[in-house]
């Protein structure tokens, strides 16, 4: 009979944040890498648009409807602006606006969701039922209606989309926060006499962040597609500001002449959506603890 020896398992060395990021990146699948590279390229385009674009955003450089040429790689649009330059500037506008909108919707929806989970009772009932009512109406139709009522401006667009989107964020953040609120450490903080701010930001939010970040990626895609759709319908981002949705709208008739013009902005939209989804999938897989069976 052998006497037991304690397990010889090295105490896990603490990883710094940088190290664990590097480690995660090393194990990232190809799709995630593809997504990250594409998002990075889009970000560079958006940030350095004036430096990268060969011409100005609304600068008329030649005749309308030119085919690709060494001067205008992707040709020109209906009033003779360079399509490539507008595509690059479009990244800045479309992505920037979508990002601001998503951030705003998470700020509103996320904080209301956590608050409802924490307070329960009448407040929760009140907000939840209002949100249910909003969720019953299709976003695009509701946005169109609201834009018609308050007038089409960039600020209005951002606020309306953010508010509509925050209903979905509310539902998620309330649900995940409910799971955390019942934990003993939250009760322990309440017994300590902690204020609302501490409980929300120190106890609850760090524990619900992974699903919210994942959702952020997905909602960003939806917002971005909705903005493109609204622009296509002519109520989104207004000319002469370059934006992919309206670029598709302006050149859509060219498709019947076999010209690829509407496909460039459409491809830009599709590629970004796919890329964001790849990254989100990877993140979700990593944080949800789903593992491939060994």
């Amino acid at each position: 009979m052998n006497t037991a020896t304690p397990p010889v398992r090295a105490i896990k060395a603490r990883r710094s944040v940088m190290e664990s990021i590097r480690r995660d990146l090393k194990t990232a699948p190809l799709t995630a890498w593809f997504g990250m590279v594409v998002i990075l390229l889009y970000a560079i385009c958006a940030i350095f648009a004036p430096l990268l674009a060969p011409y100005g955003e609304s600068e008329i450089v030649g005749k309308a409807y030119q085919l690709s040429s060494p001067e205008n790689w992707l040709g020109t649009d209906q009033i003779g602006r360079d399509t490539l330059s507008r595509l690059i500037f479009g990244a800045r506008n479309t992505i920037g606006i979508a990002l601001i909108t998503t951030l705003l919707s998470f700020l509103v929806g996320g904080s209301l969701g956590v608050l409802a989970a924490l307070k329960r009772g009448l407040l929760d009932q009140g907000i939840s039922r209002v949100v249910d009512a909003f969720l019953a109406i299709p976003v695009l139709i509701f946005a169109l209606m609201m834009l018609a009522v308050v007038g089409k401006s960039l600020i209005n667009l951002i606020i309306i989309l953010a508010l509509l989107d925050s209903t979905r964020v509310f539902r998620l953040s309330r649900a995940v926060a409910l799971n955390v609120v019942v934990m003993d450490f939250v009760e322990s903080a309440r017994l300590r006499g902690e204020g609302m701010r501490w409980i929300v930001f120190k106890e609850i939010v760090p524990n619900i962040l992974p699903p919210l970040i994942t959702e952020f990626g997905l909602r960003f895609c939806f917002v971005f597609l909705t903005i493109s759709a609204l622009s296509f319908l002519g109520v989104g981002i207004q000319p002469p500001t370059a934006d992919w949705g309206s670029m598709v709208a302006e050149s859509k008739s060219l498709i019947s002449f076999g010209r690829p013009a509407p496909l460039y902005p459409a491809a830009a939209i599709a590629l970004l959506t796919v890329a964001v989804n790849f990254v989100v999938d990877w993140f979700l897989h990593k944080t949800s603890g789903l593992r491939d069976g060994h």
Partner: protein, 548 residues
């Protein structure tokens, strides 16, 4: 048919040789089971005991030829009734599972599907393996319910899992495991989640049915007294190695290994009782209820002297935890008064000032949920220091280290997250967090029931030492009588929201007992293989006498 095979006692059913199992974590394979031999004869019950991490559950599952996700069988052989389970295909093994080898899990509530009737789940295996027709299986299930002494055996199967008690559900799961008359059943801590009073019934029913059908069983538990009632032979495991193996009687009489002896150390731990009249907390005629309906506390009066430990015992639903909620102000009492240092305590939490809150601290049963998984030890212990005492920066960290040392951990733990510590260490951190506030009263809500015996003993002695040092009072809520014996000065017995008995330990634990206290005390398993048999005989005699 499998079940028709003659069961000959003495024939080897399961033979495990040199089994090695690895678990995957932190990118490497760590050995969990390190070369264990195990043989089991037909009709024999083998007890596997050890603390958590000893590899007993992994070994139990391996006896089915199953390795949990993240585990792999890396060596050795498992032969079940002449069939090599490691070499067998997935399909061959699946044909065995449920029909010839069955598994009873710890938490019946988590193992039943809440959306289906109990009987549908009981007969599912037998029907799926085409062993019986549905009608026959259902009739058989009702017969099993009866043998397991479930109330209303003919109709209980039509209920949903949430409509029966935990003990009944655990028995229903045993019926499920029995439905195909397996050759081998693996019980994985089947009574750990139950009250002592319920545990007795479940143990008796399980032992009885295993005997009736001459089924071989592996009984996994960390409670030596329980395994003594069930098993013919006991194997003690530690860190994946076999420490000691002997027949139950031989092992209880003369354990050869130091480690085996230490396993029942907690039962020997005993603090001399000391009485004090200096009352720190007085709960006076308190009623409390959830949403105004049923009274969960009914006219409860309890006194907690300064620097002493008052143990509150009772089974689940007796109102012990509600008492804690009433004291902390989470559930304001609907009647009665709570006096703290002679002054009435504001009823609701938000009416109390910071200093009052500081003086009453709480430690929870499960350190897993009581510590924020995203906070480091530095912040967990540091926050009360900062919040109540205004300590900042280096002064705060210095005090955190002092507190870590007082709970017998060291500086190196300061940057750890809860997930990087063991269960006992996490519970120590919870204790340090409560101590950081320099409280006068600490409410301990089942603080040791989620821990192994040895760790329990360590935590209890730590609490006692800390009490001596700081003169803090404990209100110790528990259902475990061994714990009560170990640390209390006074005992309060609760049943259905009422205080049944209250007084110094020596008085409450010696006869004459009120009926409920006697039931509670007599249900605590003892280190005697004949205890359960004796107890059942005594109880049935009493019932007969009462009916005669």
């Amino acid at each position: 048919m499998v079940t028709d095979k003659k069961r000959v006692k003495g024939e080897t059913l399961l033979d495990i040789r040199g089994l090695k199992i690895d678990g995957y974590s932190d990118d490497v394979w760590n050995p969990i089971v390190k070369g264990i031999d195990l043989t089991l004869k037909r009709g024999e019950v083998l007890g596997l005991i050890g603390e958590s991490g000893a590899g007993k559950s992994t070994l139990g599952l391996a006896a089915m030829g199953f390795a949990r996700p993240g585990c792999r069988i890396s060596g050795g052989s498992i032969v079940f009734d002449g069939m090599d389970l490691i070499a067998a295909s997935e399909e061959q093994r699946r044909a065995l599972w449920g029909s010839r080898i069955a598994y009873v899990a710890q938490s019946a509530a988590a193992s039943f599907n809440p959306a289906h009737h109990i009987i549908d789940q009981t007969v599912e295996t037998a029907v799926a393996h085409n062993i019986m027709t549905r009608e026959k299986a259902e009739a058989d299930a009702r017969d099993l319910y009866k043998r397991l002494q479930l109330p209303n055996p003919n109709t209980i199967g039509d209920r949903f899992p949430h409509q029966v008690s935990g003990g009944q559900l655990q028995r229903a799961m045993t019926a499920m495991a029995m439905s195909c008359r397996p050759d081998l059943i693996i019980f994985d801590e089947p009574t750990t989640a139950l009250d002592v009073t319920t545990q007795v019934e479940v143990l008796a029913a399980m032992r009885d049915i295993v005997e009736q059908f001459n089924t071989a069983a592996i009984y996994i538990t960390h409670d030596l007294a329980v395994v003594a009632q069930m098993a013919h032979r006991i194997m003690v495991l530690r860190y994946g190695n076999l420490v000691e193996e002997a027949t139950t009687r031989a092992m209880l009489k003369a354990p050869t290994q130091e480690y085996t002896r230490s396993l029942w150390a907690v039962r020997k731990l005993q603090k001399p009782e000391s009485i004090s009249d200096d009352i720190a907390l007085r709960i006076h005629n308190v009623d409390a209820s959830y949403s105004g309906s049923l009274k969960v506390l009914d006219n409860v009066t309890v006194q907690v002297p300064r620097g002493r430990t008052v143990a509150v015992v009772g089974e689940s639903g007796s109102g012990k935890s509600t008492l804690a909620r009433a004291i902390t102000g989470l559930l304001p009492p609907s009647r009665g008064e709570i006096y703290f240092n002679g002054k009435p305590l504001p009823r609701a939490l938000h009416e109390r000032d910071k200093d009052t809150l500081r003086r009453i601290q709480m430690i929870y049963q499960s350190a897993d949920t009581a510590l924020n998984p995203r906070q480091k030890v530095r912040d967990i212990i540091g926050r009360p220091l900062e919040f109540y005492l205004g300590l900042q920066g280096a002064a705060r960290d210095r005090r955190v280290v002092e507190l870590l040392e007082s709970i017998e951990l060291n500086e190196s733990y300061i940057d750890r997250l809860p997930g990087e510590m063991s269960g006992g260490q996490k519970q120590r951190i919870s204790i340090a967090r409560a101590l950081a506030a320099e409280p006068e009263i600490i409410i301990c809500d089942e603080v040791t029931s989620a821990l192994d015996q040895i760790v329990q003993e360590e935590i209890l002695s730590l609490l006692m030492r800390l009490q001596k040092k700081t003169n803090v009072s404990y209100l110790f809520i528990t259902h475990d009588i061994a714990t009560v014996r170990a640390i209390s000065d006074e005992i309060v017995v609760m049943h259905q929201g009422k205080v049944v008995q209250q007084g110094p330990k020596s008085k409450v634990l010696s006869p004459p007992f009120p009926a409920y206290t006697e039931l509670l005390l007599s249900s605590v398993p003892e280190m005697d293989p004949d205890w359960l048999t004796g107890l059942l005989a005594k109880r049935s005699k009493k019932v007969k006498a009462a009916t005669a």
